[in-house]
């Protein structure tokens, strides 16, 4: 047991997975939960999510050793302000937001003296959301990035690291600025592009919806999976990691125009060289154990 009492604020995919995983690892004596929506709290109670579901955030965080904000990035500041007066001295407050600079700016000013704020970001998720979407294995062998702020207590950081390792994660530390750039490349921009491609396909009238769906396995399908992620979460990501995302998008557009020009002018050599280079990075991902080399045919449901 690492913490006596853990409070989860917001009860979606990540919070519910934290709960089931903490139970599996016996990492917390008691876990309380709170969600703004009464319907979500009812669902949580019905499925046995958390030891206690509280009707106020104040109640949930009372006496908690670790409070994890599991709400969309845009809601972090308001929630921090609401719970701040109720935090126990010596408590750790953390979060799971996909953006770190904006969360630190929003939350830090509300943190009372004697409370330790240690931002975190587990790189884990699925395209599903809500309290029923969580499962204990979500964080197994996935990265969790800790982003300690200036003056973070080393012992408290070590404790939070142990907690995330207990949840199954591999933990790294990183500063907020670098975190936001790395995620803009590996996650935020790819998501925006996937959303865009799916939106384009949805708009096309000559290619009917049914054909787009019917023949989606030819490449498009992989985009729809990531474009099915939670809209609120992703809106907030782009609103708050604006600079890094726009920078990477600018680079993306530049490259896309170069390839588009090669298509228009018939420069096959440029395309061939480009496509050969991108193959190597795939090999690196497989070697790093971040995906399998198995051909991608097992994911198709076998229904006629």
């Amino acid at each position: 047991m690492i913490y006596n009492k853990v409070a989860l604020i917001g009860l979606g995919l990540i919070a519910s997975s934290i709960f089931w995983s903490a139970k599996r690892g016996a990492l917390a004596g008691q876990v309380t939960g709170y969600a703004r929506s009464a319907a979500t709290r009812d669902t949580a109670r019905r499925i046995g999510l958390c030891d206690t579901i509280c009707d106020t955030a104040a109640e949930a965080v009372a006496d908690a050793d670790l409070v994890i904000l599991c709400v969309p990035v845009g809601a972090m500041g308001a929630v921090a302000a609401e719970i701040a007066p109720h935090l126990k001295p010596g408590a750790v407050i953390s979060d799971v937001g996909s953006v770190k600079k904006a969360v630190i700016e929003a939350v830090q000013p509300h943190i009372p003296d004697g409370v330790h704020f240690i931002p975190a970001h587990p790189l884990a998720g699925t395209e599903h959301s809500g309290p029923k979407s969580g499962f204990a294995e979500l964080f197994d062998n996935r990265w969790c990035l800790l982003v300690p702020v200036e003056g973070s207590d080393a012992a408290k950081v070590a404790e939070l690291r142990a907690f995330w390792e207990g949840l199954g994660s591999n933990v790294e530390e990183m500063d907020a600025e670098h975190h936001d750039l790395v995620l803009a490349v590996t996650s935020h921009t790819p998501h925006l592009i996937a959303y865009t491609m799916v939106g384009v396909a949805d708009d096309l009238r000559r290619v009917t919806d049914s054909e787009v769906i019917k023949y989606s396995a030819a490449g498009f399908r992989d985009f729809t999976r990531i474009a099915a992620s939670d809209p609120t979460m992703w809106r907030d990501v782009f609103m708050t990691n604006k600079d890094a995302t726009l920078e990477i998008l600018g680079r993306f557009t530049e490259e896309l125009f170069a390839l588009q020009r090669a298509i228009r002018t018939g420069d096959g050599d440029l395309l061939f060289d480009y496509f050969t280079r991108t193959r190597a990075i795939r090999r690196g991902i497989i070697d790093a154990g971040q995906d399998t080399d198995a051909p991608d045919f097992g994911r198709v449901a076998g229904r006629k």
Copy 2:
């Protein structure tokens, strides 16, 4: 048995899968194969690919009832010219190219009287290529599009349809123009975008390669899989389906700019509405049996 003798010209992922699947279904009395590269022919012989591997295309197609061109789209015309004098009267010549208008333009002029040209495109593949990458199940429950040309013999088309159904496919007919547009939306443009995103990530110096790879599971990874496909095949696709691809790319850029502007101006409502709409198309794909609803966490290799 549907054909007495089938000849496969080009021995990559698709041809080798056709061979193993035709064996599984006992669809052909005899299957011959030919590849331009001696090394590929040697590999094919070593792994038992095809009943006979011939050293010339002419030999492979002699007396064949069905000849399938399984070479990159850009090579179809030359191969057709080479084998044309050796085709048996009444034979069917087909292909597996991802683009249809350009293949018809390249191949059709070489087809002798009395030989039936019926273009086809199986929507199946993996990110692997070469004679060793094939497997009998590749076409199971995947679509195969037949694109008959004017005056195609109905009985010969029905026979080819039965062959592809025997390989496990669901078969539809479509005209070439429409085929090329549908594929530009569902396959060609998504691939180009994935290649671009991977290229951008590869270029970034501040985010090191190792970080891009290490944290790839956050969304980027799905792009690398499709960006690892065969460079020659994809160069030819973009060189030959230029108009439809450029049209869809234009639409894509327009939408991307609208979303980029929403990020820059802080228009969260626009993003939220957009991301909500794209969720629906995902649901359609699952309902159509083209993907599973299982959360996407099973694909991560469990190595630390």
